[in-house]
Symmetry: C2
Subunit: 600 residues, 2 copies
């Protein structure tokens, strides 16, 4: 009797595969192309191949697992991939430490010259110790010695003052933030800041020298909230269903940020106590979940933010392990679905000063788009869906090693390029975009997204036509990677939404696409996509390639700039107040434009 | 063979007694006069007579105790008084709930007319709900609707905003503190404030209606830090020795404050969420320990405060369970040993406006004294010691039921009055003060403090002369209460220190005692002492009785006033800056004045 097939989904890399029931998780992961650590080769003795069951059914924990894993880990769903057998459909999380090669994270951005307008300034202070003739309190002594002569400080800083002054012989360096003392440190200690871009999927963190604004260390990680739902809506629903769900999401994220901070500090042999300021950007949901703000109303029409103003609070309030007096600054949001990350991206790209007509977008599950024209600024958000993250695509996956990211078709020759040049195990956003553009270019696809014509790779499987990009037999360890009509429709929906947003902003401004002088594409997918392909399938308007700039993680770059510039913080607030937010769903031209934009 | 005697000390009431080794704690407590609860009559079945071993030796826990008490309680030293036997000297804490009659706490003060200059103002706000034409964030909507139009709020308040607005149908009452929203409540909800006087020994707490400043509920409790040391210095030493000692002291105090707050709220059927502001006053050490500020330097010459400026922080930072956005205000200190409680007492008595020459003091282990003369203000602190709290006095105790508080001697007739008119079990500060004054008046004491003359109650015990105030045989359940020469010397040291402080301030101002037009005596002991007796033994200068005012807990009254008046807060700061602090120890006339002041 043939065993029934079960579907396994591996998070956070987003790989899916069908395997016979009874297959071990380790085997399934390898079949799917995920490079799981298994130092002992799957003998159940090394305990390295840990995974966590998110949902679904596995065999009961074996004796080996009971030996190797702590009781609380087992209770939390942790298993050894080599021992756990798949009994039914299952979703599993592969912790970062169990992957041999990390997912590609977008850390790089174009680093613009830093506009220093320091948020924190250091002052060297020498004090006379108290004696019976001069009995002022320690804080009176210090507070009157710094510029302004009237400093204040948080309880956490005040609690360190007496020991700090005495240990350093009454000669200290004082970090002043406006009139607030945020740190008292030995003279000569370097001050650092933390800039973080909290994406729905990924975290990118930068350690910045606060004296000159330069980035001294970078690190990335997955957003651990992914275990509670891949997209924003499913996380909001999770918090609606679970009374302490929002707290769980917050705690997981803060823990991950603390881990990243430690890594960054280790890279430059600094102490986390030297990190005196943080700027954290994210979409409105990430922003709210981080700050402990309610998200229920973000998930219900009319989808409003709880808070759109910039936030400034003590890092200790979130249990972020910066220096005791450090503040966290969150830039303003524009709307429920145009977040502080978009503001930061615009600021990071200096678009508040844009002298030419500029369109800027950050493509993700939601794509935020801004148009600057003659001193005005319009902004919208469109639901582009997760197809460009590899989700909802049959053989899709995120941009991890082994993902096909480039496709060229010349006659019967199919050229694919995979990330890290590993054997192909799936296709990521830029790969599927390329594939669709190539199908269209070589005439294999009509404008509605239906296959046509004849090609040796155009095959039928399970009653459906699909294009075989990579055959398992072509490569060692590889999988079959196909593109189906359904996959192409997903891409049509995604690119149609983006193009609709662009067109509606253009019509609001009363201009034509060819008046766009500068077209900025930010974010991870935006960096790796082929602009020519994007134009070919109609996602972007057909304007000269030289007007496009792919700027990488401009949100992270904006966060870096905001760390060291009060002026840019003020500009971010001005921008958020001045912007004209366009709600696409209720726009008169929405349906007409969308239907037209779906065509390839 | 006679059993050896062991010394047992019962805290927080401060009773001490010697009993034969092997006596049960319950029996010893009853012999000492402490009214311990023991519902079952000491059969070990009710579990009500709980005590906690602070130091010393008791018999191992009995089976009964192991049954009745939780493991963690046993581990923390909790015992049943009826089962635990005294094997050696021991210090024990009797929890409040194990005492049948509580210690007398000083809650009453003269309530002066309230100078309202509200710190918090309520505003009724009706908002238009968001719709697709008006997508501003909830906070933008609210913040622009309150006076000023530019309000801010803490994360804790922001986290409640969306639900509060929707649950109340977009009609709420907003509590504004300057430009900060500290609470969003249903319209019509009463706003309360909490005023607390944190004494080294006692806590006095008041719930205040923030709209008119009236006190609506009062409650008191012992300061639980007493388990870590009776006086300030021993608590500072405890924190020096134990790395998390300061945190323990802080946590115990905060827990007690939260309990008091709940009691107060229950009295008026209010929720703690209605309590939107707190003013807490205490001496500098209590202030620092509450706020988590370092105290080591308070215990080392030159005894400086870490912070003397007023503090203003979120109640949540201390884990005080007020409303989510509530602030705590701590008034300024004057010096290491002239604390915010003294400032509050002066403000509570309106002395910043004093038109006549005024001396004001608050007697405790440290006595703070202020002199106001011709618009100037001098202040000092003197180490009056714990004798007036009943400590260091052979049969001394705190002002708890059964303590002798009044003594009159007419020939061989000795009249004593005890608190609550219970059988005498010891003598408290006002009683010993009276006794010494009476001995002096009837000629039984010379000015050096030595007994002289003949009296039936003047007896010799253990080679020492003492005066028998109460004989055990005179009363049911009573104890012998005596006053020894050593006791009298303790009183001389205490009153000498206070008189020295008064004299030195007078000499700083260049005036004579009879120029004092108003003499204010604050605090618990100060309320119950007999001013005539205090003059007779030379503690106070000999000025007309009508110039004295015993004002009760003026520090608590000041805290109440500070709750509802920004003007008084500003005046407190001005006072703390203007005051001339006089360090007695280094004053040229100190020794000469002190020696003279010791005489009776």
């Amino acid at each position: 009797m043939e065993k029934h097939q079960v579907q396994v989904e591996l998070q956070p890399i987003g790989l899916r595969i069908k395997v016979p029931a009874g297959t071990s998780v380790l085997e399934a992961a390898h079949l799917a192309g995920a490079e799981l650590v298994a130092l002992c080769g799957g003998k159940g003795v090394c305990g390295t191949c840990r995974v966590r069951l998110l949902s679904g059914e596995l065999s009961p924990a074996s004796d080996t697992e009971k030996d190797e894993l702590a009781a609380e880990d087992l209770k939390a769903g942790v298993r050894l991939a080599c021992e756990a057998l798949l009994l039914g459909d299952a979703r599993l999380e592969i912790p970062r430490e169990s992957l041999t090669t990390p997912q590609r994270l977008q850390l790089e951005g174009q680093e613009l010259p830093t506009v220093m307008d320091p948020v924190i300034r250091l002052h060297d202070v020498r004090l006379k110790p108290p004696d019976l003739d001069d009995l002022g309190s320690d804080f009176t002594r210090l507070g009157t010695a710094v510029p302004g002569g009237n400093a204040r400080a948080s309880l956490d800083v005040l609690s360190t003052i007496s020991e700090n002054l005495r240990r350093n012989g009454w000669h200290v360096s004082v970090a002043l933030r406006g009139d607030e003392i945020v740190a008292i440190i030995p003279p000569g200690t370097k001050p650092y800041g933390l800039a973080v871009d909290v994406g729905t999927t990924k975290l990118a963190a930068y350690l910045v020298n606060l004296e000159n604004g330069s980035t001294v260390a970078k690190s990335g990680a997955m957003n651990p909230q992914i275990a509670f739902g891949e997209d924003i809506i499913s996380r909001i629903e999770y918090t609606n269903r679970n009374s302490n769900g929002a707290r769980s999401l917050q705690t997981r994220l803060v823990d991950a940020l603390n881990t990243l901070l430690e890594e960054l500090c280790q890279q430059v042999h600094a102490s986390t106590e030297q990190v005196m300021e943080a700027v954290i950007v994210g979409n409105t949901a990430m922003h709210h979940l981080l700050a402990g703000l309610p998200v229920r109303q973000l998930g219900e029409s009319p989808y409003v933010a709880a808070v759109s103003e910039p936030l400034d609070f003590l890092a200790s309030e979130l249990d972020l392990h910066l220096s005791p007096g450090a503040h966290v600054y969150l830039p303003p949001n524009i709307a429920g679905y145009v977040g502080a990350d978009h503001v930061s991206m615009l600021i990071g790209s200096r678009l508040q000063e844009a002298a030419v007509t500029t369109l800027a977008l950050d493509i993700g599950t939601n794509t935020e788009i801004s148009l600057f024209h003659e001193g005005k600024h319009w902004s919208c958000s469109c639901a582009s869906g997760p197809a460009f993250e590899g989700a909802h695509i049959g053989d899709g996956m995120r941009a991890a090693p082994g993902a096909i990211e480039r496709v060229r078709i010349e006659g019967t020759q199919i050229q694919v390029h995979t990330i890290n040049e590993q054997a192909a195990c799936g296709i990521c956003g830029s790969g599927i975009l390329d594939a669709v553009a190539e199908f269209r270019r070589v005439g294999l696809l009509d404008e509605r997204g239906a296959f046509r014509g004849v090609h040796p790779n155009l095959i039928e499987e399970g009653g459906e036509v699909c294009f075989l990009l990579v055959d398992a037999s072509d490569q060692e360890d590889g999988r079959r990677v196909r593109v189906s009509r359904k996959d192409i429709n997903e891409i049509q929906l995604a690119k149609g939404a983006i193009r609709t947003g662009i067109e509606i902003l253009l019509s609001e401004a009363g201009i034509q696409a060819d008046q766009i002088e500068q077209f900025i594409v930010a974010g991870a997918f935006g960096t790796y996509l082929d602009v020519g392909s994007a134009i070919r399938i109609g996602m972007f308007p057909d304007i000269p390639l030289k007007r496009f700039r792919q700027v990488g993680n401009a949100a992270g770059e904006g966060a870096r700039q905001l760390l060291v510039s009060n002026r840019l913080r003020a500009e971010a607030v001005q921008m958020s107040k001045r912007v004209m937010y366009v709600e696409l769903a209720r726009h008169a031209q929405f349906m007409k434009t969308y239907v037209k934009a779906l065509a390839l």
